[in-house]
Symmetry: C2
Subunit: 689 residues, 2 copies
Amino acid sequence: MEALRQPLKTMLPPVWILLITVYGLNAEGDGMEELATEKEAEESHRQDSVNLLTFILLLTLTILTIWLFKHRRVRFLHETGLAMIYGLLVGVILRYGIPATSYNHKTPPSCSLKEGPVSTLLLNVSGKFFEYTLKGEINSREIHNVEQNDMLRKVTFDPEVFFNILLPPIIFHAGYSLKKRHFFRNLGSIITYAFLGTAISCFVIGNLMYGVVKLMQMVGQLTDKFYYTDCLFFGAIISATDPVTVLAIFNELHADGDLYALLFGESVMNDAVAIVLSSSIVAYQPSGANTHMFDASAFFKSVGVFLGIFSGSFVMGAATGVVTALVTKFTKLHCFPLLETALFFLMSWSTFLLAEACGFTGVVAVLFCGITQAHYTYNNLSEESTKRTKQLFEVLHFLAENFIFSYMGLALFTFQNHIFSPIFIIGAFLSIFIGRAFNIYPLSFLLNLGRRHKIKGNFQHMMMFAGLRGAMAFALAIRDTATYARQMMFTTTLLIVFFTVWVFGGGTTPMLSWLHIRVGVDPDQDLQPSTDSFQVLQGDGPQAEGQSKTKQESAWLFRMWYTFDHNYLKPILTHSGPPLTSTLPSYCGPLASCLTSPQAYENHEQLRDHDSDLIHNDGNLTFMFGDTSITANGASGSGVDGAGGSGWSANGKRSGSTSEEALERELDSREQELLSRGTRLVFPIEDHV
Amino acid sequence: MEALRQPLKTMLPPVWILLITVYGLNAEGDGMEELATEKEAEESHRQDSVNLLTFILLLTLTILTIWLFKHRRVRFLHETGLAMIYGLLVGVILRYGIPATSYNHKTPPSCSLKEGPVSTLLLNVSGKFFEYTLKGEINSREIHNVEQNDMLRKVTFDPEVFFNILLPPIIFHAGYSLKKRHFFRNLGSIITYAFLGTAISCFVIGNLMYGVVKLMQMVGQLTDKFYYTDCLFFGAIISATDPVTVLAIFNELHADGDLYALLFGESVMNDAVAIVLSSSIVAYQPSGANTHMFDASAFFKSVGVFLGIFSGSFVMGAATGVVTALVTKFTKLHCFPLLETALFFLMSWSTFLLAEACGFTGVVAVLFCGITQAHYTYNNLSEESTKRTKQLFEVLHFLAENFIFSYMGLALFTFQNHIFSPIFIIGAFLSIFIGRAFNIYPLSFLLNLGRRHKIKGNFQHMMMFAGLRGAMAFALAIRDTATYARQMMFTTTLLIVFFTVWVFGGGTTPMLSWLHIRVGVDPDQDLQPSTDSFQVLQGDGPQAEGQSKTKQESAWLFRMWYTFDHNYLKPILTHSGPPLTSTLPSYCGPLASCLTSPQAYENHEQLRDHDSDLIHNDGNLTFMFGDTSITANGASGSGVDGAGGSGWSANGKRSGSTSEEALERELDSREQELLSRGTRLVFPIEDHV
């Protein structure tokens, strides 16, 4: 992964410099040259301000236009698409509208050194020493270009800005705002699409692109090296989907919750997979002379890198989340929402730094931190802080996302090393289409073998259609544009993002109605068992049995986890769940009562008293009814559903439904809790049924 | 001002580098040297993460301890004082606990050039070119130190970080959270203390310090140059008071609102004055040989610079605020709080950039932008956005402030060019005490000649006591530590901040009770006319007349402004105030009705209908009663109070009170509106009485 951090010859970090460094030079000196340098630094600072201002005005303009569009209910163009258009316009103006100033057209002085490049260099100018820092290697053919086109270079960012500043809030927000009910219900499928699907997509695209590259070589369109690993790398970065446009419309139209969860979950997870995959491909460096042939040991090393980075980042993210949950549980910090919010923000940010400091991937860690925070810490926060944290990250996410997209528009005209290769671009468009198809359809078929709620054909087509590319693909592509191959990839990625966001994003609403996907679903009401599951449950034939068995097997691990989470993690990390004193073995008594929150007992007692009331009042009546009718149907009750929910009903209460349904109910009740926001008391309904 | 941007030889921006630039080097190269550089860059990135993580954990620890202190109602140590202590501890550990790694002990290679220093330098290493950027001039005696003590240099920031990242949110928040009622009631005094007082303080301290410097020269304690302008510069930076600790306790104990407003207003405004003053002093560069003698033309140039920068920054800030108010008024953006908050954030940030781009001072512009936003835009925002923006800036302010204070603690041990001069330090402590006394007591005496509500003796003592120094003094001092004089100033400033925050901050509660300053004042109830004003109003002797005349004169300009603001600016920029159709001349009819918000008519109508109801229900009953009793007292009603409030009662309604009282009522009702947060309708009570 570190290998990705390469010098971008043409990319400078001047705009952000304003935020951190403005070097003036020795204002008290009398010499002419120092005054000149001071003036130059001052001018540069002013220029930086103007550039950053340009971006801010661009975003302001975007916001106002978004408002206009939302106001008039225009849905064919999403805010990100709009941001790109404005970015394009400004890019055109910068490129063609502003004459290059003459004083910049000079080659900087150079000096020779026998040793290798060092990070710090001293310059001796007639006895005075000046300190210089290494910016990166520069291609010899570009030396005379260094100071040229200063304006264009000014508005280009260091690509690490995207990774270290703009992506983390976007990814964290994604994790933090997961709609847990639907997400956990579809976790197996999401993980399958994200891991297996992204890997398939990466390899399909990589191989197809290798064919395209071979074709280009034959036709003589390729002027520089383009290896197989480059193709695979392209496959990895372009496999990161980002259906932000589609999801925004889903949200607005209240489209089917499961489809939303599948798409959102997949896109969130596959970002993480794509990052780690691309680092692993870069880490694939066969030893010896045959540097671009297949090497088994290098391949396994790459797989090891993948697993190591992924699991390490996962552990980092989860650990910080757990620590935050513990801190917020065992302090009465919720009396001071400001402190709580600040702590939450700092802890979440520290995940990123911790992961980076340990050599893992900060962005991936931040994702899992967000999920953990939403699952545990969120329950411990004061009502005020839940709002504050949500809103804080919402604003950061919004600004960062629109910034990236408007920068993309700008980059099309201001990036100076574009390589537009028609064959490569057409090939890439075809490849991502085929790659997506190889991801969605076969995996959906396999998943449907094990799923009770099938992923229907129209859902599959919608997922196929929603394979937009966005911020992550761009950030991965711009991170390294040092070689010919990478420059061509960057250009192509940019075009793919434009095309998919505008065309597929704009076509979402027609597509939804064309595919007959139901919209206007009340998020609280769509938990009732669909007719599908009824049919499965009522059918007692061999097919149904086989299906339930598959389901049972596939869900086994998940149910284990759920039981563990509900019985131990929830009570330890939050104020909800059953008291640990009732779930832990008796010899852990003192520890258990120490860890259990007083609220947990309260919930428990309350539940015992108002048992039937709660069950009939919690809004899950439909579901309960469905459940009862299933039980009335004969052996199907806990037989077909398999799990029998006995694992976690430690108190030996009646358990009429399966743990999976209990899970759904729990998730449901939590979300209702989130929605109502008024009461902090959690009714542990799942403890009873 | 730009002259302040000097290279800080020992200050590097490595920690923030993580946020913006992580340069790895050519990962695909095969050469050993590139691999080594790559490894170095990777190591540096990791180190950066660790350092930033250190700060974040420091802040986390601070937050947890603050909670503990708040929980146990400990008041002798404020969070900022705590942050400094933690910073000190970490500084000690970094300084003495970590052995310097050996590989860093080498002098970097140097190369010679005949031309002056340039911003970009190319390095030719056996045919390969590397790009280097100028970091700054370096003292020849420190060349061998450049790579030494890497760990200590790592945790030092570029001083511009403070000015461009950390101060703006702090200052904006100060402006945005001004308690307008008390602020405007004491505006004249606040401006007097801030402008005249800071100037007095600066010159008193500057001259006393010049004496101290002369003494040091005589004793032989001074080893390098220390000019008169340096002394004045020190006077300017150390005149920026920051009673954050005191104000926090005031807030908690609900101390007197007027005293709070005086202290808070003074500290906010004098920060702005101190920045501009210090830049003006730097701009004072006498021409010719006598570079350190008094030069009238250079002096007037400095005054011009002061006025230019200050008014320019003011106009920038106010203009952006006005534009934001117009945008939020004339769009229905308040239906989308996220967009509204994002726009608000971007516009406020753009003030900073705009001012910097135009060569003014961003921080000062941001202050006035904050005040304008609070005065106008805040009224147009949706209920949700008012909360969001408040909370967003509250969190940013909190993090930035504690970061600065913990950094101060750290800097005491990690800054490498400290010059501890006992004479200078003792002299400085005495000078700031005397300077503060020359600011507060004479000005209070003068102000009391014109004030109806006197600034009593105990208030004056409290203001004297609350002359703490904090973030601004530190940021100004660290901005330039290139010369011997500046290094000595920096060390002294640091010690002054420590001492005042810990000792004066910790002594606030005892001091309040010792000075018999009333606490536990209900912010909504302390508007009743105090016995003071009653006595003045009842006394009809020559003294009372003279006083009322002085007051009248001094308040004339302010009342003009208030009338203009209420009749024209408020209706144009917000939804409140009287309709423009009733305040503008009739020939402006079409324009007036175009600019007036429909809500203004509604308010107006409603008011007409429920006239007496409103007056008796708006919580100002005490005030109304006081007013009536004054009127019943005979000629004193509008006679003594002078203004007669006819200027703005354009509709010819009964006007029983003065415009000043109406202003107070208006500000009061606005704050009640802020407090209730439930209704957005503004009752324009001031329109009637």
